[in-house]
Symmetry: C2
Subunit: 406 residues, 2 copies
């Protein structure tokens, strides 16, 4: 497994582009991914019952087992809470791209992200789609351009690619994602797009995606809000020419490891670029009675505003960690729990078997001054563990969200 | 029913005091409530499984059906996550007050609030208790002093009293409460103390308290964190001389109405003084299929960081309201929902039957510039409703909690 520098177009047979169409004032706001040959397709979607129009469209194509030729994505407007007009606009986006690349509209997936409750400027978008199909980006640039075009409050594009050998045959997986608000673990949090030239059927790809989601995107939180537009879409076009990946094979295990790696990278990049974030927090709960209980505990810690503000203040206020564990809904004995903070500056024990440990405040401050901090919670009541990622809550989060729309 | 200006000592036979003992540097930090005659006692407590020592002590006295003579409360230190030492210190607090007022320790309730994970300075507290029983506050001052002594990050004392006639016999109910962080609806959020000179047995008082809690304290949120120390304690000493209140009587209904009113007042005062709050938000979800579903929807809206920051920014970003309703876990049809904002400056319709309504941004801003704003969500899918209260999320919330401990 080897990381590459390319974008979403790294796997064979994929093209991409990212341009400014005019939904936003100045920045790029329209991205396209296409494949020469039709792709297996896997997707997971927001569990919010208020679903944006593109979520509904993509779910229909998934339910119908359609194979896919392309994805069109706009930022700057979420096309959510836009009623029947919204759904009709999503279909029009698929139609416009389909017409321009000579495929059927039901081979086109659609995604939108941005402000909720405003109807899409369809003339701008139609013109943009006609322009984006003509875009002659170099292969090196288009991945970055596409990743930039899906950004909203993100500060940097999130794009990763890697290659691996499966039985001596080279396969490439690439992905791009966007955050960075309304991020909360509940199935497919945010937008993420994965392409691969592996040959794998849609059923197996969906099974794999659902498994990987639970330990990656569903274990991150920026602000506890599950968006109306969240989705992870995966396309596999088989262009590597490698044999089809079947379940239970070593090839499947190799592919899964790489697929997990790229999704974990994208998920943690989203948190690192969390709105206003100054710290990246990894929380590991181990030695618990069940994985589900351990996950609940991780979630409670990464979503607690009081824990998040304490990290922003570089304050070793571990009591808030224990408080969050306590209301997580997990059943555990607080009197058995150890808590440590770990960073590049060292590690410090704060709680041992539920009893406070006297610690050096200056040393704690040195550890908390780092940008990446790990919280270790050892429960001593089982063998299961869970891991998740969050960020601190800063003045800038409030600033960004106090005047996002205006 | 008539509101009074007095404090927690307003009902006949109650004494109170509030002093500076030395747990905090300068401000008052020790409060006492005592009753000449022994009291019926009702209590509800945090559902956090990490419980502070005083929570465990008070729950034991409740389970044993003890009658109560007094409450001792310190602020500045929560006595939570303090292990066996913490429980022993709570008992010592009860012992010290009991000894000094010649009652048994198991007639004394204890409460603590403040930082988690630090052992109480017991010598300071013992000396403080010996001092507070000698305190000769005037009746007018002691209520305010006691309410000030339980404050942590609160900006103002929260105290209310009222009198009512029950079959021509006058009964008084008084209460004091504290916020203002770690406030989240999950049974008895924060500290609240209620006294009354009504005669009502402990069993009925507990039943009444549990009912009232669900529509008052459990419907407020400041920051989504359920504290380790939350409790509501009610003492009834019967000193009014009025006949005992029995279930199913008109007297019970009258008492309940007043008891509800004082608890709703205290609950909303806690939110109005929420950490860093600049706006008070009332959310009403009506015409829903069930009360439980309506409550979930209210909770999701009042706890959403994105909704809260939008109110701080006075931004009519109603999409975030709909997004929060959508992930609340309640089953409803978004296409039937109406949403309005209402304040002293007027009201504005934002969503009608799930479709965005074009609105005047200037008028919306005028409405949102007010300090108290009501969000009305009408579901058109039933007859049940729920109401709850929250506040905005401001720079000051981050500031207060970024350096609370230091």
């Amino acid at each position: 497994m080897e990381w590459m520098s390319q974008g979403i177009n790294a796997p064979k047979g994929f093209r991409c582009a990212g341009i400014h169409a005019g939904v936003k004032r100045k920045r790029k706001d329209l991205a396209m991914i296409t494949s020469e040959s039709s792709c297996s397709y896997a997707g997971v979607f927001t569990k919010n019952i208020v679903k944006a129009a593109p979520v509904i469209w993509n779910q229909q194509l998934l339910a119908n087992g359609n194979r896919i030729k392309g994805i069109i994505i706009n930022s700057g407007n979420a096309n959510a809470c836009t009623g029947e007009q919204g759904y009709s606009d999503t279909k029009d986006m698929a139609n416009e791209l389909a017409k321009n690349i000579n495929v059927s509209p039901d081979e086109i997936l659609v995604a939108s992200t941005g402000v909720i409750g405003v109807v899409l400027p369809m003339e701008t978008i139609r013109t943009g789609i006609r322009k984006i199909v003509e875009e002659k980006d170099s292969d090196e640039n288009c991945g970055k351009n596409a990743a930039e075009a899906i950004m909203t409050t993100d500060k940097f594009p999130k794009v990763k690619s890697l290659k691996l050998k499966i039985n001596d045959c080279e396969v490439i997986i690439a992905g791009m994602a966007k955050g960075s608000g309304m991020i909360h673990p509940n199935m497919g949090t945010m937008l993420s797009f994965i392409t691969t030239d592996a040959s794998i059927d849609s059923e197996l790809l969906n099974e794999l995606l659902k498994e990987v989601i639970n330990d990656t995107y569903n274990m991150i939180s920026v602000d506890g809000d599950t968006s109306t537009n969240d989705m992870v879409l995966v396309l596999a076009n088989g262009e590597s020419g490698c044999p089809s990946i079947v379940k239970g094979s070593k090839a499947y295990d190799d592919f899964k490891e790489a697929f997990y790696a790229i999704n974990e990278e994208l998920a943690t990049l989203i948190v690192k670029d969390g709105e206003g974030a100054t710290k990246f927090i990894e929380v590991v709960v181990s030695d618990m009675s069940s994985k589900e209980e351990a996950r609940k505990m991780v979630h409670a810690v990464i979503t607690s505003n009081l824990v998040k503000t304490a990290f922003f203040g570089e304050d070793a206020n571990w009591g808030r960690i224990l408080c969050a564990l306590g209301y997580s809904g997990a059943m555990f004995d607080p009197n058995k729990v150890d808590v440590k903070y770990i960073s590049d500056a060292g590690e410090i024990e704060l709680l041992r078997k539920g009893q406070p440990v006297l610690f050096d405040e200056e040393y704690a401050l040195a550890i908390l001054s780092e940008k990446e901090i790990k919280v270790s919670v050892v429960c001593h009541q089982g063998t299961e563990s869970a891991k998740g990622w969050g960020c601190d809550l800063s003045y800038d989060y409030v600033k960004i969200n106090g005047d996002y729309r205006t």
